[in-house]
């Protein structure tokens, strides 16, 4: 078994064995490797950083250097069981369009993101009056890759507005799951499994 970041562990636990998937922003391929080795999945990836692509290729993974904002357009419709976007939505130029592409390429999509509505973030902003720098968001505003911060409630509103179906959702505080009640306040991370109504 591979040791996975908590949000990736949730995704890995809920992917059907033997399924096909596209991991967008796959980093060094840890999740893909786990799903290939432990669940026999046919995993493909996309990653912006060439050094990470090199690491993936060395693991025998098929990964394309590309940008979620530009290069998802070249993937055929409904070509994988799952499109996965972990901790990347908030770094894209147009998160709504990326989400749309994920659900076009994958029959289902896993999306995980850090929750900007977490109480620690709120307190930091409230007391200091400055953009929060927390354990989960450790980079100051001027060099953070997170250009579209969102809260869980923001995400819920977007799903509703676009008519996207929630198939599953998990909220994480540190390494432990927390309940949906007051998740927007208490969860540091959210993981959603989404689909589009046929």
């Amino acid at each position: 078994m591979h040791a996975l970041r908590p949000d990736l562990a949730v995704i890995a636990a809920n992917v059907a064995p033997g399924s096909s998937l596209l991991d967008v922003g796959c980093g060094d391929g840890t999740l893909m490797q786990a799903l290939r080795d432990d669940k026999g999945c046919d995993a493909r990836g996309m990653e912006l950083d060439p050094a990470n692509v090199g690491k993936c290729v060395a693991k025998g993974l098929s990964v394309i250097q590309g940008d979620a904002d530009k290069d998802l357009a070249f993937y055929p419709d409904q070509s994988v069981d799952y499109a996965i976007l972990s901790q990347t939505l908030q770094t894209t130029m147009r998160p709504d369009k990326v989400l749309q592409d994920l659900l076009r390429i994958g029959r289902k999509a896993f999306v995980s993101f850090p929750n900007f509505g977490h109480w620690r973030v709120r307190l930091s902003l409230f007391w200091n009056g400055r953009m929060p720098v927390t354990r989960l968001l450790p980079v100051p505003w001027y060099e953070t890759p997170n250009i579209h911060h969102l809260t869980i409630n923001d995400f819920r509103a977007l799903l509703k507005e676009r008519g996207i179906t929630v198939e599953g959702r998990w909220y994480l505080s540190g390494d432990t799951k927390c309940s949906a009640a007051a998740a927007n306040f208490r969860a540091e991370h959210a993981v959603y499994l989404l689909s589009r109504k046929p």
Binding site: D42, R44, P50, A51, V53, G54, C56, V57, A58, K59, G60, L61, S62, V63, I64, Q65, G66, F74, Y75, P76, S79
Partner: protein
Amino acid sequence: MATAPIAHESQVLELADPLPLDGGQSLSGVRIAYEAHGTLNPAKDNAILICHALTGDQHVISHHPKTGKPGWWVRMVGPGKPIDTDKFHVICANVIGSCMGSTGPASPAPDGKPWGMRFPVITIRDMVRGHVALLDALGIEQLHAVVGGSMGGMQALSLAANFPERARSVLVLASTARHSAQNIAFHEVGRQAIMADPEWREGDYYAHGKGPEKGLSVARMAAHITYLSEEGLTAKFGRRLQDREEKTFGFDADFQVESYLRYQGLSFTDRFDANSYLYITRAMDYFDLAEEHGGMLARAFAKSKARFCLVSFDTDWLYPTAESRNVVHALNAAGLPVSFVELSAPFGHDSFLLDVPALDRVVEGFLNQ
């Protein structure tokens, strides 16, 4: 470690059957000169075919018989190297149309005289047909991988498209699925330089002891510029003068870059046949893998089950990254497992031959799966 010459004679295979060509003719008595390194395992499934570039040859790691220089890819191929001859049986064959032992325009035609311009125009796919005939003769049904940079990458793609069962992995470096107008234009400059040389004699120069060396040299000079980057040329030469303090107000090679190019051009004529240069550049210009498959590049790979890896370089303006991406998108559309990375290197198109450690890691990682 000192580089000791690898004593290695090229082997030459004469094909029993005529080789059919895209141009409609077929070529009898075709010879293919090749080298093989490393041991072919009993299952015959550890072979890697390396396809060489325009002016390359089969001497991938052995010394060149004419120049005495080490093989053209010694930094990538050999024992313990990214393409490891301790693990793989590495084959490299001189393409047909070339001049290092495989049948080309300098070879004798059925009438005993050199073919010259009577040699049929060949294509990249014809070169690949030659490679496949060699694999047949060697009893290798399926390659572990086919690997190539530049024109070698075109052969690798063509093999994957036209002989999909012959390779399990396809590694394509600094290459393209079709020649652009700019690519064709540069080649045409080279061909016209050769043909404008009176010593070319309509290609019938072999009996005269002297060929169109000036023309071939100019062709090589023009082409050589396209293999380098502006950044690389500036770093290497800038505007520095060659062995002099002042400009001469004449047309000697005042600048280092001029002297370098003249040397590159001249030394090329010692090892390469001008007619081969015409034929091979033509084959590259005719290359358009999508056109061969009804205009849809994805369709070219419809029957493939191979895994692919493509690498481009950020300073390569001959076959820029967009060309590799074009292939990657087609492979994606065909649902094939493909990896792609654009590496940063200062050397332009030639980066695939030079010291780029990130490339070594990708090549080794991809081939060792």
